[in-house]
C-alpha cells in the first residue's frame, strides 16, 4: 500500500503544479539554442533549497524532461538543435518542416518524447540497482567504441557523398583538438592565438554550422522559410499516434537505447539520439528515406533523448555518479539537502523521497503531452506566420546571445559565425554539416577513451588487445560493423531480388 501513498503524494495539487511549471519552463528554455537543461536546473537550485527533497527533485526532473523535449522545436523549425540532445532530430525533422509537415513533426516529437520519458522512468522504478552496475562495466575503451558507433552514422548522413562525409567528420574532430588536450591538458593547435586557448565549444559550433547557413539562405530570397499546408489540420495527433503505433518496436528500441546510454556517465542525450537514430535507420524498411524527412527518424531521436532522463537518474541515485550534466547539478542540490545517494536510498528510511520523485517524473512526463502539443503548435504558427524581417534578426540574435551565454565569451560568438559561414560554403559543395557536427560532438569522448585505453593497453604490453579483447567492446564493434555495412548489403540483396523478379516475369 506504500506505493499508492507515494503516487497520491506525487499527484497532489502542489506537486502537479510544480511539475507543470517545471515542464513549461523547461520546454521554453530548451527551445532556445544555447540555453541548456543544465543551465535551467542550475538557476532553479536556490529555489529548491526551501522545498522538501522529493518536491525539489520533481521540479528539477520536470525542468530537465521539458528542456530535453523543447530542444526539438528549434531543431525541427529552424534546423538548430535547442539542446545537443536534439541533433539527430534535425536530420528528418527539418526536412519534414520544409515540405509542410512541421506540425506533424512537432507532435510526433512530443508523443515520442513522452513515450521515451515513460520508458526511462519505468526502468528507473523497476531496475535501477542492477542497471547501475552496467555503468561500472564501461571503461574508457567502451566509451571510445560507443563514440565510434555514433560516428558510423556518417555513412548514413553523407547523402551519397561518403568520402565527403568522412572528410567532414575528420574536420569536425580536428576542430575539437584545438585548445586544451583532453587527457594531458597540453595547450595545442592554438597557433599563438589567445582566442583559441579555450578551444571550440561544441554547442556554439553546432549552432553555427546548423543555424547560420539556414539564415544565410533565409535572408537572400523573399520565399517563405517553411512550406505552409493549406487548411487547419489541428495537432495531427491521431496521425502522430498512428505513426507511433506503426513503428512501436522502433520506438521501444530507441527508448531502451536512450535509457542505457543515459545510464553511462558522460554519454548523454546527444549520443543516445544518434545511436538510436542509427539503429532505427539500419533496421527500417525505408532506410533510404532517412535524412529526407522520415517520421521514424524523429521518433527514434526524440524517444531516445527523453529516455536518458530516467536512465541518467539511475547511476545518480544508486551510485552517486551523475549520468548526464544536468544530473550532476541535481546531485549537488540533493547533497545540499543532506540526501546521501546510494543503493540504500531505495530501501532505507529515505526511500519515500525516491519513489515520490519517480511517481512525480511519470506525472511530469505525462504533463508534457498537453503542454508540449500546445507550445509546439504556437511555436509552429509563430515560425510560419512571422514576417521574414522579424524572423531573421530574432533568430540571429538568439544564436548570438545563446552562444555567448554558454561560456560568457564573445570569442565563441565570433567562432560560431565564422564556422557558420564556412559551413554554408562547404554545404554548397557537398560537405554536409551533419558529419562535421558528429565529429565535433563525439570527438572528445572518442579521444579520451582512445588515449586512456591506449595508455592502459601500453602499460599492459598489448594496446590492441585492450581495444579488441573486451566483451562489451566486441559487442559494440559488431554493432558498428552491422550499422555501417547492413544498408549496403540490404541494398544489394534487394537489387538481386528485383533482378530475380524481373527475370521471372
Amino acid at each position: 500500500m506504500q506505493g499508492i501513498d507515494y503516487v497520491l503524494e506525487a499527484i497532489s495539487l502542489y506537486h502537479i503544479s510544480i511539475a507543470l511549471a517545471g515542464v513549461i519552463a523547461g520546454t521554453v528554455i530548451g527551445a532556445l539554442p544555447g540555453l541548456t537543461a543544465t543551465m535551467a536546473i542550475a538557476v532553479l537550485v536556490p529555489i529548491t533549497f526551501s522545498m522538501k527533497p522529493a518536491s525539489a527533485l520533481i521540479l528539477m526532473g520536470a525542468v530537465y524532461t521539458g528542456a530535453i523535449y523543447g530542444g526539438a522545436y528549434s531543431a525541427i523549425l529552424l534546423k538548430t538543435p535547442g539542446t545537443p540532445s536534439a541533433i539527430a532530430t534535425t536530420f528528418d525533422g527539418y526536412p519534414m518542416a520544409k515540405r509542410g509537415d512541421g506540425d506533424l513533426a512537432v507532435t510526433l516529437a512530443c508523443t515520442s518524447s513522452v513515450f521515451g520519458g515513460l520508458v526511462g522512468a519505468l526502468f528507473l522504478l523497476l531496475l535501477a540497482p542492477p542497471l547501475a552496475q552496467i555503468a561500472l562495466a564501461f571503461g574508457p575503451v567502451e566509451y571510445f567504441w560507443l563514440a565510434i558507433f555514433g560516428l558510423s552514422l556518417i555513412s548514413a548522413l553523407s547523402e551519397g557523398h561518403m568520402l565527403k562525409g568522412l572528410i567532414g567528420g575528420c574536420f569536425g574532430m580536428l576542430l575539437t583538438t584545438i585548445g586544451v588536450a583532453e587527457v594531458s591538458a597540453d595547450i595545442r593547435y592554438t597557433f599563438g592565438s589567445h582566442t583559441l586557448i579555450g578551444g571550440i565549444e561544441p554547442v556554439s559550433a553546432l549552432i553555427g554550422l546548423y543555424c547560420v547557413p539556414v539564415m544565410i539562405d533565409l535572408v537572400a530570397t523573399p520565399a517563405r522559410h517553411l512550406q505552409v499546408s493549406t487548411g487547419g489540420r489541428g495537432f495531427r495527433l491521431r496521425e502522430a499516434l498512428s505513426l507511433n503505433w506503426r513503428h512501436k518496436f522502433s520506438l521501444l528500441r530507441s527508448s531502451v537505447i536512450g535509457t542505457i546510454v543515459g545510464i553511462l556517465p558522460g554519454a548523454g542525450g546527444s549520443i543516445a539520439g544518434l545511436v538510436a537514430y542509427s539503429e532505427a535507420r539500419r533496421s527500417s524498411r525505408r532506410n533510404e528515406y532517412f535524412g529526407t524527412g522520415e517520421p521514424e527518424g524523429v521518433m527514434a531521436s526524440e524517444s531516445a533523448n527523453n529516455a536518458t532522463v530516467g536512465g541518467g537518474f539511475i547511476p545518480t541515485l544508486v551510485l552517486g555518479i551523475p549520468g548526464t550534466p544536468p544530473d550532476a547539478v541535481i546531485l549537488g542540490a540533493l547533497l545540499v539537502q543532506g540526501i546521501r545517494t546510494g543503493p540504500k536510498l531505495f530501501v532505507g528510511d529515505e526511500s519515500s523521497i525516491v519513489y515520490i520523485f519517480i511517481a512525480g517524473l511519470f506525472v511530469a512526463t505525462l504533463l508534457m503531452l498537453p503542454t508540449g502539443l500546445l507550445i509546439g503548435r504556437y511555436a509552429y504558427r509563430f515560425i510560419i506566420s512571422v514576417p521574414k524581417a522579424v524572423l531573421v534578426p530574432t533568430v540571429a540574435f538568439m544564436t548570438i546571445i545563446g552562444t555567448y551565454a554558454i561560456r560568457n565569451n564573445m570569442s565563441d560568438v565570433v567562432i560560431m559565425i565564422v564556422l557558420g559561414a564556412i559551413g554554408w560554403v562547404l554545404d554548397r559543395y557537398g560537405f554536409k554539416p551533419s558529419p562535421i557536427v558528429l565529429g565535433l560532438i563525439l570527438s572528445r569522448i572518442a579521444e579520451q577513451g582512445f588515449v586512456q585505453g591506449w595508455i592502459i593497453g601500453t602499460a599492459r604490453g598489448n594496446a590492441a588487445a585492450e581495444f579488441f579483447n573486451r566483451p562489451i567492446s566486441l559487442g559494440i564493434i559488431i554493432f558498428i560493423g552491422v550499422s555501417m555495412f547492413y544498408p549496403l548489403i540490404a541494398r544489394r540483396w534487394r537489387l538481386n531480388k528485383d533482378l530475380q523478379n524481373d527475370s521471372e516475369t
Partner: protein, 156 residues
C-alpha cells in the same frame, strides 16, 4: 561525339584545402612533447589526408560532378551583409554594451531581411518589435539566468 568530362572542381579544391589544413596541424604536432596530446589528432589528420587524396584521385580518374552544387539563387550582398552584421555585433558588443549594440544590429538586420516596401506604420511596428525582442532577451538572459551580458561602459 565524346561526352565532356566534368569534374567536381570545387570538391577537389576543398579536399586539397583539407589536406593543407591537416598538414598544418601535423606540422604543429611536432611541437607537442607528450604523446597523449598528439596521438589522436595525428590519427585524425592522417585519416583526413587519406580520405581527401582518395577523393581527389577517384574524381580525377572517374569524374563525378556534384549536381547539387549549382548556382545559388538569391541575393549575395544580403548573404554577406548578414554574416558581416552578426560579426559586427559580436565585435562591438563588449565596447558599447549589449542593449545599444543589440538594438542597432537588430534594426540593421530587419532592414536587410525586408523585401516589402517600408511604410510609416510598418516602420513603427517593427521598431516596437525590435525594442521588445532585444529587451526581452536581455530580461531572460541577464536578469533571470544571470548571464553577465556586456554592460554599457559609460554612465548616461
Amino acid at each position: 561525339m565524346t561526352a565532356k568530362r566534368e569534374y567536381d572542381t570545387p570538391g577537389i579544391i576543398l579536399a586539397a584545402i583539407f589536406i593543407l589544413l591537416a598538414g598544418i596541424f601535423l606540422n604543429e604536432s611536432r611541437n607537442l612533447t607528450d604523446s597523449d596530446s598528439y596521438v589522436f589528432p595525428v590519427a585524425i589528420c592522417t585519416a583526413m589526408i587519406v580520405f581527401s587524396i582518395i577523393f581527389i584521385v577517384w574524381n580525377l580518374l572517374k569524374p563525378h560532378p556534384d549536381k547539387e552544387a549549382s548556382i545559388v539563387p538569391g541575393s549575395t550582398p544580403r548573404r554577406v551583409g548578414l554574416v558581416a552584421l552578426m560579426l559586427v555585433s559580436a565585435l562591438i558588443m563588449p565596447y558599447v554594451g549589449f542593449l545599444p549594440a543589440g538594438l542597432g544590429v537588430f534594426a540593421a538586420l530587419m532592414a536587410l531581411a525586408m523585401f516589402e516596401p517600408w511604410t510609416w506604420k510598418r516602420a513603427m511596428n517593427y521598431a516596437l518589435v525590435c525594442v521588445a525582442v532585444v529587451i526581452g532577451f536581455y530580461v531572460i538572459f541577464d536578469i533571470i539566468f544571470l548571464v553577465p551580458l556586456p554592460e554599457i561602459p559609460y554612465r548616461l
